[in-house]
Symmetry: none
Subunit: 196 residues, 4 copies
């Protein structure tokens, strides 16, 4: 009687949701949130504008969904495998490993990174998004802090903030300056400083 099984339907919906989110990220990353229209996204996703609103209540909601969907994945990408490696690597090696992962993911997910950075600066009047972004930064701070504690670094909390700032700063400059930025050299310098 019922059309499609509920489960199959739910799965399809989930797929569609992801498709929209990824298309949105792609668009937002390319032109920024405000310069991207719902129309753009729908067109890129090959669906009608109206359908968007079956999945997300508003453009802002879509943005939140994008961030909430993609950011944890990126963070996970960076820090994943750490627990396994934790047993075989020295703390310093771990730190170096994570840093490497950071730079890899930053380049792979440049769109996401740029988007969240530009959003970070202009969410004063978008409280929901502000909150999501704050949580994201907090999470990263905490993860780095944990790593430092394993290394018995004193003042791990503040030190974590310094390191996170440096990484984000490098990302910022890399995105702005592009090929003119010697990312590899900066990365090596960063690692050798950290590990020293």
């Amino acid at each position: 009687m019922s059309p499609r099984t509920k489960q199959a339907n739910e799965k399809l919906k989930q797929k569609r949701r992801e498709q929209i989110i990824l298309t949105a990220l792609e668009n937002f990353a390319k032109r920024g949130y405000h310069r991207t229209s719902i129309s753009d996204i729908a067109k890129t996703a090959g669906i009608s504008k109206g359908l968007m609103y079956n999945y997300f209540d508003s453009k802002e909601d879509l943005l939140i969904a994008v961030i909430e969907y993609v950011v944890p994945q990126a963070v996970e990408k960076i820090f994943s495998g750490i627990t396994k490696k934790a047993k075989t690597l020295t703390p310093k090696e771990l730190m170096s490993f994570v840093t490497d992962r950071f730079f890899e993911v930053m380049q792979e997910e440049a769109g996401l990174w740029k988007l969240s950075m530009s959003l970070s600066m202009q969410v004063a009047d978008m409280p929901k998004i502000h909150q999501v972004i704050v949580q994201m930064y907090d999470m990263v701070h905490r993860k780095i802090e944990e790593l430092l504690k394993r290394n018995n670094v004193p003042d791990a909390a503040i030190k974590a903030r310094l390191i996170a700032a440096q990484l984000d700063g490098i990302a910022l400059h890399y995105f702005v300056l592009g090929k003119n930025y010697n990312l590899e050299a900066v990365k090596q310098a960063f690692i050798s400083e950290i590990v020293s």
Copy 2:
């Protein structure tokens, strides 16, 4: 009509231009570029929308003018007085002095800072603005590099990039996290690391 009048006019025009630019910065900083309308700016500046277009061909042109006018001033603010101090301070003291200035200016000019950071991330299709911003970052890199060279720091070029990144990263986090960010502690930690 007379040459005098022409000159006076020219001066007046220049003044007005500056006034518009500063008003625009104020508005852009407060609500972001896209959420600020030409109407808003004209109203705040106390002139008509029409007149705005006698001074700037488009909204984007105005944005460029803002960046071009204001960014060098901020950079100058940070590094000004350095040449004078250079004679009386040790290199390390100089470094510490500049860092202090950086944090002061960052807080004083938070609006400008946020604006240029958010623009930095989404200038793919705004080449003129991209160029201005690139120059700004380059200038800062060079200034820090000079300072480091005075301190006989090896690899001054790369080191300058690391420091600049860290400063901008701290600014980024500070703007996002606001009161929840312990700027003072981070700043002290940064300085003591630099000077060590």
Copy 3:
């Protein structure tokens, strides 16, 4: 498949139809026709949007069905029992009885009442609905006229129109002014005038 099943089905369909109609009335009454969506109604009725279109060809058709189904019931409510009472009550008592019923039903069915009044004013391009509403008013006029004739009131036809107008006018004002309208006092005044 068997005739029995067909009959049962038919009955079920009828039940469902009524259920949709009543749900629709409830919704239309609460938020007005235009501010109520088919989605709203389907959700409230616990069925799918698609199924709605098995029962009604369009939203306007549903509206017509609502009016056609519900209005006669309300009229009936007011005048029901009259023939029985006619034998035991004096004409004046009857009149008073009906008036009481009118005010009762008006309050019980406020939603329906408001809906049909607001529709009454803007049916220029909805001829079907216009017709239903016209019939309703005619029916009421005739019923009142009959009552008056029993009372040997001269010019019963015109008088009926005056009374009907007064009742509807009171309803109108009551709906608009709500608690600020002293319905009880007005009602008493109306009855004492009628009966005098």
Copy 4:
């Protein structure tokens, strides 16, 4: 220097405002508020949609403006000249005179009348408009009450409500039934009742 004098400009703006208001009334009256789009109004008024929003902040604001602009004029039309006549006519003649005016204006301003009646029933979620309409009904009630007091009618307040209800009810029925409603006869009956 300035284009047009400010006064001339103000006058033009006022004219335009009125033009929009009257066009809007015409449209709202014909098809109701919800079935009339801003587009419709702009088209009828021969202006762009955007211009509407130079004069009114929203569609709802426009509706309020329509009512506030037009209702007092209609009320005035009905009750105007009363103070002059008050000296030469007996109270009953006055009452009859006002009633006549009511029916004239109701027919002349049928659009406005229908609009405000239909709105009356569906403003539950438009508080601003509800308020305006309540005020309108209050005003009429007070005016009638005053008239009755001159006639030394007891219970003038309640009586005024009854009369107002009757008049509005007649209007309601007249609008619904159109040519099938014997307005002239009803009117005569109403007047003779009132005056008796």
